[in-house]
């Protein structure tokens, strides 16, 4: 990445020439738009940007970005992106994944990438279904989900991606949704700006296999009452008149209250930077699914050494102490003898 001035770009500059192949009406379109609109604002170059994805509908996104891109294999994008980010600290590495890709087959790579805090920005398109394989339930589908593979209803409890990430030592965790472009852009921008691994869960509508999954909270008319905006430094309030709020009950966790009942002062003031992830975790438990008031925005954003920086530090240190490697002397580093 050279240091000369970053050229001014527009959405068009960040759009590839490939025709977009999602179903008409798919929420992926609005996420793509938000990302393409955000990019020009980040002050980075297209050639220094790489989108890495696994497999799934969501994972097709890199083809539509006029950047470098890798459409890899199912579930492995975080691992592949980890190698790329470590090998090339000069690049901006984004990972695009679905709920099956990131949390079913790819769950282990995801939690390890978060734990390691490699400098990658992970966008998790959560439509609570397997789209590309035509509609089986996913690890985020609600219990009792009837799908092709569960005609009698699914039996397992879904993951809460935010809780999983916080339990896995993530340093940045956020949530947004495909119905609010501004919020998506702002949230993804924050994730990009975070040094280390960041995870953004994006509620996304699959209008073919799981239509309306999030309508109950993201719909224009219900949004005010069903989405709890997380704003750093502000008391947690929501509702059309901000009449409702969040308090912490030491014995039970986070609870919803009428501000009138408890008074503004009693409300939890949101702090993204708490080193202890407990409160962020509590907030992730406020909603058991997209049918209760649900927090959106940045749950957690803390500073912890980025894995890649550590790698570079160790290399620099070794070079300082031992000088750049010399092959001939490496070969002689064991005990040697001469044959005349």
């Amino acid at each position: 990445m050279t240091d000369t001035l970053i050229p001014v770009t527009t959405r068009k500059d960040w759009s590839s020439d490939q025709e977009v192949r999602w179903c008409p009406g798919c929420g992926d379109y609005s996420i793509l738009a938000a990302v393409q609109l955000l990019m020009p604002e980040l002050g980075i170059r297209r050639e220094d940007t790489v989108f890495v994805s696994g497999i799934g509908c969501a994972a097709r996104m890199p083809y539509y970005m006029n950047t470098y891109g890798m459409h890899t294999i199912h579930g492995r994008a975080p691992a592949i992106a980890t190698g790329l980010a470590l090998a090339r600290p000069d690049l901006h590495v984004f990972v695009v994944s679905g709920d099956g890709d990131a949390l079913s087959i790819g769950g282990n790579h995801l939690i390890h990438a978060l734990r390691r805090n490699v400098n990658i920005t992970i966008l998790l398109f959560n439509n609570q279904i397997y789209g590309l394989t035509k509609g089986q339930y996913s690890p985020t589908s609600e219990t009792g989900k009837v799908t092709k593979s569960t005609p009698f209803g699914s039996l397992d409890t879904p993951f809460n991606p935010v809780s999983v990430a916080i339990g896995a030592e993530a340093t940045f965790v956020a949530r947004t949704h495909d119905m609010d472009r501004r919020h998506m852009m702002e949230t993804i921008r924050r994730a990009y700006e975070h040094r280390g691994a960041s995870l953004v869960e994006i509620y996304q509508n699959c209008n073919v296999f799981n239509d309306g999954a999030f309508e109950g909270i993201t719909g224009k008319q219900v949004r005010d009452d069903m989405l709890i905006p997380l704003r750093h430094g502000e008391p947690l309030r929501f509702g059309a008149q901000g009449e409702r709020g969040v308090v912490i009950d030491p014995q039970r966790g986070a609870c919803l209250v009428d501000v009138a009942d408890v008074g503004e002062g009693a409300l939890l003031v949101h702090d993204e930077t708490r080193d202890d992830p407990s409160v962020a975790f509590m907030l992730s438990r406020l909603a058991r699914g997209p049918f209760e008031p649900t927090p959106v925005g940045v749950f957690r954003d803390v500073v912890r050494p980025d894995y890649g920086d550590g790698v570079e530090r160790q290399i620099a240190g070794a070079r300082r102490d031992r000088g750049p490697g010399d092959l001939a002397s490496l070969l002689r580093s064991g005990s040697t003898w001469e044959v005349g």
């Binding site: 891109g69 492995r76 980890t82 090998a87 690049l91």
Partner: protein, 638 residues
């Protein structure tokens, strides 16, 4: 001798002697055996080094159990180290040991079967109490029951002698006994007239952090040496003169270290930073350990969460322009298959290194085998051809690593390198190469558009190929104007865009196959050793069996038979002249440590009636069993 000098007036003896004259022999095979806790690997290793410094040619074979430390005194807990030293060139750690050092009954019982007739056995008698005998499964004490009559047995109370020697230093009895392997080392060093000083210095270096331990070990070593010198038991020391090896600087090296260094060399020669994504597994872990030391070479090592992440990270690094490498053994290879298929499709350089071990499944983790060849060739879904190379000796791992990198970078393809547990841990003297004479592996990347669209717009086509090598154009992220996307779906020839077109798929499948097959034109033809012109039998081998085959062919030829030997490093594609060579001889025999995997390949490719000689015991071939196999084969097919 400084060693003995110190010993005068030592507790173990009150009389002094002159060094006795040494008998000279041309070669000897010594096997150290004891409990996992007895430090036999260290002892053998050190004896090897001083023999190397002495100028002998040599080869070693460590042999230890899968458990970290099985219960003391049990057969399962026995750890052994075999070293073959000689005054002429040798290629194997030797068949039947001439000397066994047995630190306890289990060691004796588990090893005695391997010994050469008339071999010498040095026994640590202190360890032969009834409990230990029982633990080892001895009903009677073998020292009394005549079962050892065929051998020359020396009974030495090593534990008590060691204790006696070090206790004056104020070391507690329990710790004192820990030094008994150094007593044994000193004793054997005397028997084989190894110089003493270097070992004493090495002890100081090695235990610099624990001076008390260093001193105890040094004293024990000297005591052992003095014991040999003074005790009347031993007739006289034995001398193995230096071998006349080609002039140069030598070091004693094992396969894993040679491989690691070869990777560092390839990185330097290509100017591509080295990235290793790996997950620990026996017997490959030491490559990760070795490479993680060399950060000053810009080496990046990632201990990944599993093998899939290991190869995935290496592939991501390769996309970024690093020399991506992943190292593993059988179980990990199986897990990497899907990602290898992606690498084939992405046409990115990547090295996948498989240190083979006994299988299937978890199998015999610490034993050697060659049974991953067909998996390396075919273990991926769809038509996913990959070049496959194999190293033939510990030091050869260095060259093979460089050759693998050359192929990967030139043809933009993942490459599999096969080594095995025997090469990984076995050592041999290595004449250091002249680093300036190593090949240039530098890569040229695309920096400009390589295509003009119908609209007259210049653009970059990631799948435009070099007409000769068929290697695709490679543009690194960070290159302005060449942004492009690649992925695992079938792609259109040239543009690399997703394509479901039937004809294009057929074209791409065949292009990928032709690209790999075409490498044959750029690798050395096979060289035939032995009776090139008139052999009655051609022995074809690959990988770590080289030493044993070479030794066996030598012997049968000395015995008057006409035999030739071809040893393959390139297993896919095969060297261009292989078919012609195979058909040149009336018989073809293929010895392998598997059920006949290479012979299967040769039969399919060349319709030659290659006969398999296979052993699957977790051990390397011995030259003598191969000698016999060759002779039988010549008889049966005469």
């Amino acid at each position: 001798m400084s060693g003995t000098g110190h010993v005068e007036g030592d507790a173990v003896t009150d009389t002094t002697h002159r060094p006795r004259a040494a008998e000279v022999v041309d070669r000897v095979i010594i096997r150290f055996a004891g409990d996992s806790g007895d430090g036999m690997q260290l002892t053998g290793d050190r004896f090897t080094t001083s023999s190397a410094l002495h100028g002998n040619d040599l080869a070693t074979l460590p042999d230890f159990p899968a458990e970290i430390r099985a219960p003391a005194g049990t057969l399962a807990g026995v750890s052994a180290f075999q070293v073959h030293i000689s005054d002429h060139e040798i290629t194997t750690p030797g068949d039947a040991p001439n000397v066994l050092v047995a630190m306890n009954p289990a060691a004796l019982r588990s090893q005695v079967g391997r010994l050469a007739t008339g071999a010498t056995i040095v026994i640590n008698t202190d360890a032969f109490d009834d409990r230990s005998l029982a633990k080892a499964g001895y009903a009677r004490d073998p020292r009394g029951d005549g079962s050892l009559d065929a051998y020359t047995v020396y009974e030495v109370p090593m534990t008590s002698l060691t204790r006696g020697a070090v206790e004056p230093l104020g070391v507690k009895p329990r710790d004192a006994e820990r030094s008994k392997n150094f007593f044994a080392l000193g004793l054997i060093s005397w028997m084989y007239t190894r110089p003493v000083a270097p070992t004493l210095e090495w002890i100081q270096r090695r235990f610099v952090a624990r001076p008390a331990v260093a001193e105890a070990n040094a004293v024990a070593f000297k005591a052992g040496h003095a014991f040999g010198e003074t005790a009347e038991l031993f007739a006289h020391p034995v001398e193995v003169q230096p071998a006349s090896l080609p002039p140069g600087t030598y070091t004693n090296i094992n396969g894993n270290t040679a491989l690691a260094w070869g990777l560092v060399a390839a990185s330097q020669l290509s100017g591509r930073p080295l990235f290793l994504g790996s997950y620990p597994i026996t017997p490959a872990s030491d490559i990760l350990h070795e490479l993680s030391k060399h950060k000053n070479f810009g080496v990046r090592t990632l201990q990944a969460e599993d093998e899939i992440a290991g190869i995935g990270a290496a592939l991501g690094a390769a996309y970024g322009g690093n020399l991506g490498v992943t190292t593993t053994s059988g179980p990990g290879m199986a897990l990497k298959a899907e990602t290898m298929g992606l690498a084939v499709n992405l046409e990115l350089p990547l090295l996948i290194i498989d240190i083979q071990r006994g299988g299937p499944s978890t199998g015999l983790p610490t034993k050697t085998e060659q049974a991953d060849l067909l998996m390396a060739l075919y273990g991926r879904h769809g038509e996913a051809p990959m070049p496959v190379l194999a190293a033939r000796s510990p030091s050869h791992c260095f060259e093979v690593a460089i050759e693998a990198a050359r192929i990967a970078l030139t043809w933009r393809t993942p490459v599999i390198v096969l080594s095995d547990g025997y090469l990984a841990n076995g050592t041999e003297p290595w004449r250091l190469p002249d680093v300036d004479a190593l090949p240039d592996l530098s890569v040229t990347f695309a920096t400009e558009p390589n295509h003009v669209g119908d609209d007259g717009e210049p653009s970059f086509w990631p799948y435009r190929r070099d007409p000769e090598t068929l290697a695709r154009d490679w543009a690194l992220p960070g290159t302005p104007g060449l942004m492009h996307r690649i992925g695992g779906l079938e792609k259109e020839d040239g543009s690399g865009n997703i394509s479901y077109d039937p004809a294009n798929h057929e074209l791409m499948v065949r292009l990928r196959a032709r690209k790999v097959a075409g490498i044959a034109a750029a690798i050395p033809p096979v060289e035939v050793q032995g009776d090139v012109d008139d052999a009655d039998l051609l022995v074809v081998g690959w990988g770590s069996t080289w030493g044993a085959i070479d030794g066996a062919v030598d012997r049968v030829r000395r015995g008057g038979h006409r035999v030739a030997h071809v040893h393959l490093t390139h297993l896919n594609p095969f060297p261009a002249n292989l078919g012609e060579v195979l058909h040149r001889y009336p018989r073809v025999m293929v010895p392998e440590l598997n059920l006949g995997q290479l012979s299967h390949q040769l039969r399919a490719e060349y319709l030659v009636d290659a006969r398999s000689v296979s052993r699957v015991r977790g051990l390397p071939f011995t030259a003598s069993e191969l000698e016999q196999a060759i002779i039988d084969h010549l008889k049966d097919n005469a």
